[in-house]
C-alpha cells in the first residue's frame, strides 16, 4: 500500500508502484488540472510539487508527474494545481491573469504550479529565479513575455520572505493555502506509519532512480515491471566531503548537486553548467547515477564526471566493488555492470587549487534540450603549463568519451594557439560521430573543435581568440 498526502488529503493506493503519478491524479483522483502534453517530461503541462521532510523543513520541488512513478512519492506531499487553489485567485494566479500570461490555458496550470514551487523553494526572490522555475514549462501561445512579467510579480510577493520557512511565509501571506503549515507534522506521522519505498518486490532487477529516462524509453512497460525504487533510500542520499574526496550518493539528484556546498566551494561555476542540463523539474528528479547508467553517449553529467575521473561504487546488495567511470562503457548502451548491481555512490578526488574545470554544451535549443555535442575539460595548470589534462566529449561516438590522446598530448606542454590546433587534429582522430536528428557528422566534428577551443579560451584568458577562430 502506497501512502502519501495529495494536496490536503492523505491517500493510499494499491496501484502498482510503477504507475505514473500523472495518471493517478487525473484518472484515479479526478483532478483534471494537471494536463497531459507529451508524457516525456518535455512540456511541463503536468508539473506537480513534491514535498518531503528535509532537516527541519518540508522541502518542495517541482516534478513532471508524467515521469514520476508512484513509488517515488511514497510518504511525501504531492501538490497539484487544485492544491494551491484558494477561494479567490491566489496571488500567483492573479499575477498570471493581470499580465495576460495565459491564452489557450492548457499549459497554464503547469506554469502556476512551477511558480508556486518557486515560492516554496526558499530561493532568493529575484525575477531571474522565478523565471528559472518555469524553465521546464513550454507555452505555444504567449511567447513568454507576459509570463516573464507575471514571474517578476511573483518574485515581488516574496520580497520580505527572508529567514522564514517558505511554507509558513506563503501561508501567512495567503499566497498559498493555510494547510501548508500542517504538512510537516502530517509527513512525520506518515513517515512513522509507512516504509519509505513502499512495497519492494523481491528479485526485481529494474532499478528506478528518478525515472526521467526510463519512463520516456519504456513508458508502456514500467507500470507492470517489478521495480526497485531508489530515490527515497536514505543511505543513497547526500553529497559529502570525505577527506579529499567528494562522495555523491547513488540517489543524489542533479538539483542536489547544484545545491551542494562541496561542489559550490570547489567548482564555483558548476551550478551554471548544470543549468544547461534539462530543466528544473527534471533536475529535481534525475539522479547523477541514473545519468551514468542510462549510458547515453551524450549524457551531460557523464561527460562532466569523465573529466573529473569519477569512481563508481557498485553493489549487488551483498558485495560492493569500485570501477572508474572511464571504464564503465563497453559499447553503445553496454555497461560494465551486472543486472543485479546498482550504483550506490560516486566519488572523485577534490581538485587542487591549480585545477580548472569547464563544461560546454551546444544543443539546438540552449535549455531543456539534448546536446548536439558536449564536452568537459579538467586541467591542472602551472605557470601557463598544462600539468594534467582530461577532455571528455559526448555525441561524437557510441559512448561518452574521454579524449585520451588529445588529453595526453596537451599534458606537460605550455598552452598556445598552435598547441590547441594540434590537439584538435588529434581529437578528430579519436571520434566517430554519426549524423542524426541532433546534427550531421560534419557539424559535430566542427562543433567539437569549437567547444575545445571554448574550453581553452575560458581557462586561459591570455589566448588570442582571433587566432583560434580563423
Amino acid at each position: 500500500m502506497l501512502k502519501f498526502i495529495l494536496n490536503n488529503q492523505e491517500v493510499a493506493t494499491d496501484l502498482p508502484a510503477g504507475t505514473v503519478l500523472l495518471d493517478f491524479v487525473r484518472y484515479h483522483q479526478h483532478l483534471p488540472g494537471t494536463k497531459i502534453g507529451c508524457r516525456e517530461g518535455d512540456c511541463g503541462a503536468c508539473t506537480v510539487l513534491v514535498g518531503e521532510l528535509a532537516d527541519t523543513q518540508v522541502r518542495y520541488r517541482s516534478y513532471t508527474s508524467c515521469l514520476t512513478p508512484l513509488g517515488n512519492v511514497q510518504g511525501k506531499h504531492v501538490v497539484t494545481v487544485e492544491g494551491i487553489n484558494m477561494e479567490q485567485l491566489n496571488p500567483i494566479q492573479q499575477a498570471m491573469v493581470d499580465e495576460s500570461a495565459t491564452q489557450c490555458g492548457f499549459c497554464t496550470p503547469g506554469f502556476v504550479v512551477s511558480l508556486a514551487g518557486f515560492c516554496l523553494s526558499g530561493q532568493k526572490p529575484t525575477t531571474q529565479n522565478a523565471i528559472a522555475a518555469v524553465d521546464g514549462n513550454i507555452c505555444r501561445c504567449t511567447g513568454y513575455k507576459s509570463i516573464e512579467r507575471a514571474a517578476a510579480k511573483v518574485a515581488q510577493l516574496l520580497a520580505a520572505s527572508e529567514g522564514e520557512e517558505p511554507a509558513v511565509f506563503v501561508a501567512r501571506h495567503q499566497i498559498l493555502p493555510e494547510y501548508f503549515t500542517s504538512i510537516k507534522s502530517r509527513l512525520r506521522a506518515l513517515a512513522a506509519d509507512s516504509a519509505p519505498n513502499g512495497h519492494v518486490l523481491s528479485g526485481a532487477l529494474q532499478f528506478v532512480g528518478g525515472g526521467t529516462d526510463l519512463y520516456v524509453q519504456k513508458h508502456d512497460q514500467m507500470k507492470e515491471l517489478a521495480a526497485r525504487f531508489l530515490l527515497n533510500q536514505a543511505d543513497l542520499k547526500g553529497i559529502v566531503r570525505q577527506e579529499n574526496r567528494c562522495v555523491i550518493g547513488g540517489a543524489a539528484t542533479v538539483s542536489d548537486l547544484a545545491e551542494s556546498g562541496v561542489m559550490q566551494e570547489y567548482f564555483p561555476d558548476f551550478r551554471q553548467f548544470l543549468r544547461l542540463v534539462s530543466s528544473t523539474p527534471i533536475r529535481n528528479m534525475a539522479t547523477v547515477a541514473g545519468n551514468f547508467v542510462n549510458a547515453s553517449p551524450i549524457g551531460d553529467l557523464t561527460i562532466m564526471f569523465l573529466a573529473l575521473n569519477a569512481q563508481l561504487v557498485l553493489s549487488d546488495g551483498h558485495t560492493a566493488r569500485e570501477i572508474p567511470l572511464r571504464q564503465f562503457y563497453k559499447g553503445y548502451k553496454l555497461l560494465e555492470k551486472a543486472p543485479q548491481e546498482n550504483i550506490t555512490a560516486i566519488w572523485f578526488e577534490l581538485p587542487a587549487a591549480a585545477t580548472r574545470f569547464n563544461f560546454e554544451k551546444v544543443s539546438k535549443r540552449t535549455h531543456l534540450d539534448i546536446a548536439s555535442v558536449n564536452s568537459a575539460c579538467c586541467l591542472t595548470i602551472q605557470d601557463g603549463f598544462i600539468v594534467t589534462a582530461a577532455v571528455s566529449a559526448g555525441g561524437v561516438g557510441p559512448i561518452p568519451m574521454l579524449l585520451r590522446k588529445a588529453s595526453e598530448f596537451v599534458a606537460g606542454k605550455e598552452v598556445s594557439e598552435e598547441l590547441i590546433q594540434k590537439a584538435l587534429e588529434i581529437a578528430q582522430t579519436e571520434i566517430a560521430p554519426i549524423s542524426d536528428a541532433r546534427g550531421t557528422e560534419t557539424y559535430k566534428r566542427l562543433l567539437l573543435n569549437q567547444l575545445i577551443k571554448a574550453h581553452f579560451l575560458a581557462l586561459f584568458p591570455q589566448l588570442n581568440p582571433s587566432e583560434l577562430v580563423q
Binding site: K35, Q103, G105, C107, P109, N137, A437, L446
Partner: protein, 769 residues
Amino acid sequence: MKNIDSGNHTKGQSVYLDDIPLVAGTLFGAVFSSPIAHGHIEQLYLSEAAQEPGIVRIFTHQDITGENQIGGIIPDEPLLAEHEVDFCGMPIAFVVATSDEAARAAVKKIKVDIKPLPVITDPRVAHAQDQLIVPARTFRLGDTTRAWEQCEYVFEGTTDTNGQEHLYIETQCAYAIPQENGELKIYSSTQSPTAGQRTAARVLGVPMHQLEVDVIRLGGGFGGKEDQANAWVALCALAAHHLRRPVKYVLHRLEDMAMTGKRHPYSSDFKIGLDKDLKIIAYEADFYQNAGAAADLSPAIMERTLFHTTSTYFIPNVRATAFSCRTHLPPNTAFRGFGGPQAKFVMEAAIATAAEKLGVEACVIQKKNLNQTGDEFPFGQKAVSEARACWHKAEELYDVAKLRQEVEAFNTANILYKKGLALMPVCFGISFTNTSMNQARALVHVYYDGSVRVSTGAVEMGQGVNTKMLQVAAQTLSVSPAKVRVQTTSTNRIANTSPSAASATADLNGKAVQLACQAIVQRLKEVAAQVLQASEAAIELRDEQVLLNGQETDLDWKKLVTAAFLKRVSLSEHSHYATPDVYFDKTTEKGHPFAYHVYGTAITTVTVDCLRGTYQVDAVRVVHDFGLSMNPAVDRGQIEGGIVQGIGWMTLEELLYDTAGRLRSNTLSTYKIPDIYSVPKEIAIEPLQTEQDNLAIFRSKAVGEPPFMYGIGTYFALRNAIKAFNPTSPIAFDAPMTPEKVLLGLYPQAATGTQQVHEQQNLRHVAAS
C-alpha cells in the same frame, strides 16, 4: 478587459476535451497507422490484436457505412487506407477497447504486409514527375518578359523553408456519445466544427442533422486543428455509430506528430530586377509547395502564397506560379499565415540577394519599394496601405540609425560575437480567399432576468475570440460584461460555420453578434418608447439604464427586458453576416479578395556566438497597424505569441523526414519549439492607430496571423550577423537557421560542399540512423 477564461485557466478549472467527465460505458480508441510511406497493402493481420483483453472491435475501411473519404477541398484522402498507403502514419485500422491502455496494447499486435512503392519527399521531384494536387496557378501584373530589359540589375536565386509542427500542447482528440434516434453528440478539439460534422456525416452516410459537434475550447490550434481534426471525429463517430457506445480518442504526442500534417515546406525560385534607383521593376517566383500525400487545404494555402507574392512591396511587373506537389508526407495543412509567410520569405530573400550583390543595406531596397494606397496587387485589388506609415514610425521611434551604429560598433569591438539587424515589413490580407466562407452567424438570447447568452461559430483556442464576442455583445446591448456568457461552439446552435481561421473569426462572428444585438436593442427601444410613451428616437440604452432625451428614467435594463417579454416581443435573435465587397475570379486571377490588409514593421537585432554557432534574439521592436484595438491586452498577447512562433519557424524548429518519409523529429525531445530562454530579450510593440474606417469589428483589425511574419526578420538578422563575421560566407536561403547552419555558415570551409549537399547528406544519414 482580460481574457474571460484566464481565471479558470490559472486554477486548472477550464474544461478541455479530456477533462469532460466520462459517460458510463465509454470505450477508448487508438489508431494503427502505416509504418511506411508508400506501398500496397498486401495483408493486414488483426486476429492477434482482436484477442487482446478488453478489445471490443477493430474497425477497417470495410466497416465504413458511408464514404471512405475525408478530403475537404478535393476528395483524395481515405479515412482508413484500403489498398494503398500514401504516407507514414496514414490510419489503417481503429482499435476500440474498454481502456486506453488496452487499445494501445492491441495496436502493437497488429501486423501489416506492405509492398513498398517509391517514396517522394521532395516537392521538386514530385513536380518533375507531374505529381500535382491541382493544376498550377499563375498570378500576373504587367509584363515581366518585357520588363527585364528595363532593369539595370537582375538577380536569381533559390530558397527553401522547412515546415513547422503546430505543437498545440493539447493533442488532437474527439469523443462521440450516442443519443437517441441514432444521433451522435461529438465533442471535438477542432477549429472547424462544421467540417467535422460534414466529414463524419459523409463517412457514416447519415444526414448532417444526425450529428452535433460541440467544442468547448482548444488547448491551442494554430491551424493544425482545422481539417486535421476531422479524422478523429470521423473515427470516433464511426465506432460509436456501430457500437452504440461512447468512444473517445485522445492522441498521444507521438501519434499526433506522426499522423498529422504540418506547415508546408516550400522550395522556390526567384528572379528580381531593379532599376538604377533600386526600384524593383520586375519579379518572378515559382513556388513548389510540399503538399504531402493528399490535398487537405493545400490548394487554398497555395493560393494565399500567390496573394502574398510581393509581400509589402509594389512591383509593377510580376509573374508568380505555384505548384502544389504531391509527396509521401502526411498531408500538410493550415498553420498561422497559411502560405503567406512562405511567399514573404522568398521576397525578402530576393531583396537580400540584390542588396548583398549591390553592396547596399537590404532596408534601402525595402523602403524604396513599400506599397502605397492605390497601388495594385498582382491579383487586382488596390492597396489601402499603412506600409510606409508603419515603417517611418518604426524608424523614428526606435532610432534605426542609432541601432545600426551600435551594431557596427559592437561588431568592430568583438571577435567572438557579432550582431545583426534586419527590418521586416508585413502586409497581410484579411478574409478567407474562398469568398463563400466569409459569412458567419450568431445567436443571442436575452433571458427575462436580463442575463444574456451568446452563441457563435467562433472557436476559442486561446486567441481570446470569446472575450471579444462578449465585448461586442456587452457594448452593443450596453450591459455589464458580467451579464453576458458565451456558449460553447455547437453545430446545433450555429450551423454551417466557417472554421476559426484566416484571422477573420472575430470580424465575421463579431459582426454577426453585433447585428443580432442591434436587432434586439431596436425591439427593446420600441418597447421602451411604448412604456415611456415617448418617441423611439428619444430613447437610448446606456449602462443598463433606459435614457429618455439623455435623462435617466425609472426603466432599467431588467425592467425593460421583462416588459418586452410580457408584451410578447422576441428577446432572441439569430443573425447572419457576410463580408461586403469581397470577390475573386479564378479565371482571370483578379478580384478583391480581402476586406482589408494589416500592416506593420519589425526591427530585429540578434547576437551570434561565433565560437559556438549559437545565438540570442536581442530585441524585436514593432510598429503594428491595429486600426483601433478593441482589446489591447488580448491583441498584445497575439502579437508577442505570433512573433515567437515565427522566430521558432525561422530558427529552432526543424522537421526532419528521412528519405523513406519517416519523421525523425517526432517527439518534443527532438523537435524543439521556443522555451522561455530562447525568446527575444525584448519585444516592444507600438500601435499605429488609424482613423479611417475598415471592415474590422469595432475597427479593431485582425491580429492572429500578421505578427507571425515579423519572425522572418530574425532569419535575416542572423544572416547579417554571420556575414559580419564572414562576409564571403555562401550561406543559402534555407530556413530554419539552426545553430548547425549558423556554425557551418560561419565556417563554410568545414562543410563538405554547399548547403544543399549538406541538407541531403543530413537526410540520408538520418535515414540510416
